[in-house]
């Protein structure tokens, strides 16, 4: 080996060190004393955009329509927060993330929030420096199989090959399920959603497993061929899909959380995108506080007093978001309904 070659090696180590550490260099601006109290919000106002991490590949959650407009529950969640924080739903800027880079995207400040069908777990909240503001879909892990396989339940799938995305809570849930039932399976782990779906459809795997919601919408998106695919009745895990923000910016966390509360209260009170203006003369104190007609709810959060009005005007109440995005996929609302209709979505009082 020549001396020159040895130097190359050393510079390679150095280059790697530089690359590895640059991640740490992306520090967002510190909170300004004269700002809203939220560094994330201040940066978003200055930028004129709220950066929102989505998957961009899952029908019903986030997928661009034929006009290039992002549609889905996750996309509308981004719009709702943009409307609350910046007064304009159109200021939500969508950033496509994968299952593997989503957390680093949020940690490094590449996005302001993550609305990407991400399961709320203890270890994620404990280790990642991130926290969950709300659950926008109560889900569970399911299995999609081909009708021709003749499988009726998850317990029939001993020895099966299962397509699953790496880095998800799904892969851990399947492992647990097979371990508990003392069965064996072969995982096929592909990161890209269209690639893994193609692998399943081509027969590389016997089953495709992810959140039951995504399986239902994927099955629906197959059109006439949907009848060849069967969603097994078993739901093998709890997957509360939540909206994440960085730790250390509590004001921003508050804005995201109370955006959801506002949409739930609106649904409770029957306030919709279409009729919200007729409520501006309401005498119901709850409604008056919600719409910023009295009290200082917006000020407490550091946003516009009429933030909830902007949200409802932009995306409607929680039920409307569901009806617009998930109902067409043929998924019943079930536990995702608001509490007064037997579901889990319950908002603390806005007072």
């Amino acid at each position: 080996m020549t001396g020159f070659g040895r130097w190359n090696t050393r510079s390679t180590v150095l280059a790697g060190l530089v690359a590895g550490c640059v991640l740490g260099g992306l520090a967002p601006a510190p909170a300004h004393a004269d700002g809203s109290g939220s560094a994330t919000l201040d940066a978003a106002i200055k930028r004129g955009q709220m950066l929102c991490g989505i998957s961009g590949q899952v029908p019903g959650f986030s997928l661009a329509d034929s006009q290039g407009v992002m549609r889905g529950l996750d996309a509308d969640t981004c719009r709702a927060v943009a409307a609350a924080a910046l007064g304009d739903a159109a200021k939500a800027k969508f950033v496509v993330t994968t299952t593997q880079n989503r957390f680093t995207a949020l940690q490094s400040g590449e996005v302001d929030m993550l609305s990407r069908s991400t399961t709320w777990t203890l270890s994620r909240e404990g280790n990642l420096g991130l926290m969950f503001a709300w659950v926008n879909y109560y889900d569970g892990t399911g299995f999609l199989v081909k009708k021709s396989a003749g499988v009726k339940a998850a317990k029939d799938m001993d020895g099966a090959t299962i397509c699953v995305q790496p880095g998800t809570s799904t892969e851990l849930a399947i492992n647990d399920f097979y371990r508990v039932h003392k069965m064996k399976f072969t995982p096929i782990l592909i990161q890209d959603t269209p690639e893994i779906q193609a692998a399943f459809l081509s027969g590389r795997c016997d089953a495709y497993s992810t959140d039951a919601s995504a399986l239902a919408t994927f099955r629906f998106s197959q059109g006439a061929k949907a009848d060849d695919l069967v969603l097994l009745p078993d739901i093998i895990s709890k997957e509360p899909l939540g909206v994440m923000v960085r730790k250390g910016d509590d004001k921003w966390f508050d804005i995201v959380r109370w955006t959801f509360a506002a949409m739930i209260v609106a649904e409770e009170k029957g306030i919709t995108q279409a009729n919200v203006d007729t409520f501006m003369t309401s005498t119901d104190p709850d409604i008056r506080r919600l719409l910023g007609l009295e009290g200082e709810m917006g000020k407490a959060l550091g946003v516009d007093p009429k933030f909830a009005y902007h949200v409802i005007k932009a995306v409607g109440n929680l039920g409307e978001m569901w009806d617009r995005n998930i109902t067409p996929m043929g998924v019943p609302r079930g536990i995702n309904n608001i509490w007064t209709k037997g579901g889990l979505q319950y908002a603390p009082p806005m007072r």
């Binding site: 590895g20 740490g24 680093t104 420096g129 782990l189 990161q191 193609a198 250390g248």
Partner: protein, 403 residues
């Protein structure tokens, strides 16, 4: 031909006489020392800044740090592994080690196959057969112009287009080709096989020694004793005899279709096969060009001189041209081997679980991104440096030595 294999400038054979250094700017020794101290200082300052900045930011973001996660139970599923793996009890450390072995499995076999294929194609390009020269030239141009990732996705999709297990293409009852991979019979391994393998290795050493003796004899007397009968006996007859003496076990496990998939037998998964195929075909295109240029770098006079001695074309290539071409070929070949190894990380796209894939999953499940990337870098650095060291050693060995 001028003797150029070792550049005298890099050999460090001649030194100026030693003398004391003066503490003056006019002394080149002193100057170089100052510059080295300054550069070292700048480099370590940058390194210190980057490391401390990373730590500060990780702490500010409340992100857990450290390599403690390597001892935690992984719980992540792994599709194929050379060593046993039980997600319920094995650690992230073992999962990553499986990834390293999977990377080595595809890189090691890939390098061997790409070298063989690339050399054949490179020689083919120089063929006097018009069709052969054009076909191989076409191959090189096409394969080098298509991005590797696209080629991998192409092969993976093509392999998925194979029939389902129940309708698989078959060769007898032994080999099955389906969209679940290639299933082959698996020899049930017994002691006899292990000892036969040992006998074979002894045979390799024996053949090598025999060959050396033969060469010594040739140099002394000019007559070369035949090597092949000894080689045949040592490499084939000896292992067979050992195997036969130990009972000649012939149990073979055949793949059988049961339930969802084949049970028993050995498997080449579509993910591995697509990755290997893509890497080998792609890298062979580059190796072919290196081999072609290496052969053409040997002066035409060498061919003519050998021809004048009455050697045939094949013999000229084997004994005269290729040994000289090798000296030109080895350094660029090293970079191709490194490229192939690093390109194997594209496995992520087609679901083969190499070290990058498993480290990605690990950093995603644990949130330890900096540590995960550090593991990936350390693994590739180690593999690449090992390849470099070996190739540089080999390069030095075959360098022309003045006699």
């Amino acid at each position: 031909m001028p003797v150029t294999s070792a550049d005298p400038r890099t050999m460090g054979a001649r030194h100026a006489p030693k003398r004391r250094m003066r503490l003056a700017w006019s002394d080149p020794l002193f100057r170089s020392l100052v510059w080295q101290v300054v550069i070292l200082g700048i480099v370590s300052a940058i390194g210190w800044y980057l490391v401390s900045n990373t730590n500060k930011n990780l702490a500010a973001r409340h992100i857990a740090t450290g390599f403690g996660f390597l001892d935690r139970v992984a719980g992540i599923p792994i599709g194929e592994s050379l060593i046993s793996y039980e997600p319920a009890s094995d650690t992230y450390g073992r999962a990553l080690w499986i990834g390293v072995l999977n990377t080595l499995k595809v890189a090691g076999i890939g390098i061997v196959l790409a070298t063989i294929l690339g050399t054949l194609i490179g020689i083919g390009r120089l063929s006097s057969n018009w069709l052969m020269a054009q076909l191989t030239g076409f191959y090189v141009e096409v394969i080098r112009d298509i991005p590797l990732l696209l080629q991998l996705l192409f092969w993976y999709t093509a392999l998925q287009g194979l029939p389902a297990p129940k309708l698989s293409w078959r060769i007898g009852d032994a080999v099955f080709l389906s969209n679940r991979g290639i299933k082959v019979p698996y020899v049930v391994w017994e002691n006899a096989h292990t000892w036969a393998l040992v006998a074979f290795l002894i045979g390799v050493v024996g053949t090598f020694l025999w060959n050396r003796r033969a060469r010594a004899k040739q140099e002394a007397t000019g007559v070369r004793p035949a090597v092949w009968p000894a080689a045949l006996g040592l490499l084939l007859a000896l292992p067979l005899a050992v195997w036969a003496v130990l009972g000649a076990p012939t149990d073979v496990e055949l793949p059988v279709l049961r339930g969802f998939n084949f049970q028993g037998g050995g498997t080449v998964s579509p993910e591995y096969f697509a990755l290997l195929l893509g890497l080998v075909l792609y890298t062979a295109g580059y190796i072919a060009e290196i081999v072609r240029s290496g052969i053409q770098a040997v002066a035409l006079g060498q061919w003519e001189a050998a021809g004048a001695l009455g050697l045939r074309r094949g013999a000229i290539l084997r004994h005269i041209v290729l040994p000289q071409a090798l000296r030109v070929v080895i350094p660029p070949m090293t970079s191709q081997y490194l490229n192939l190894t690093k390109n194997s990380s594209l496995a992520v796209a087609i679901g083969y679980q190499d070290v990058v894939s498993i480290a990605n999953t690990t950093l995603n499940q644990t949130g330890q991104a900096v540590e995960g990337i550090a593991v990936i870098m350390a693994v590739f650095l180690t593999i690449s440096l090992s390849i470099s060291l070996f190739m540089n050693w080999y390069n030095a060995r075959i360098a022309l030595v003045g006699r």
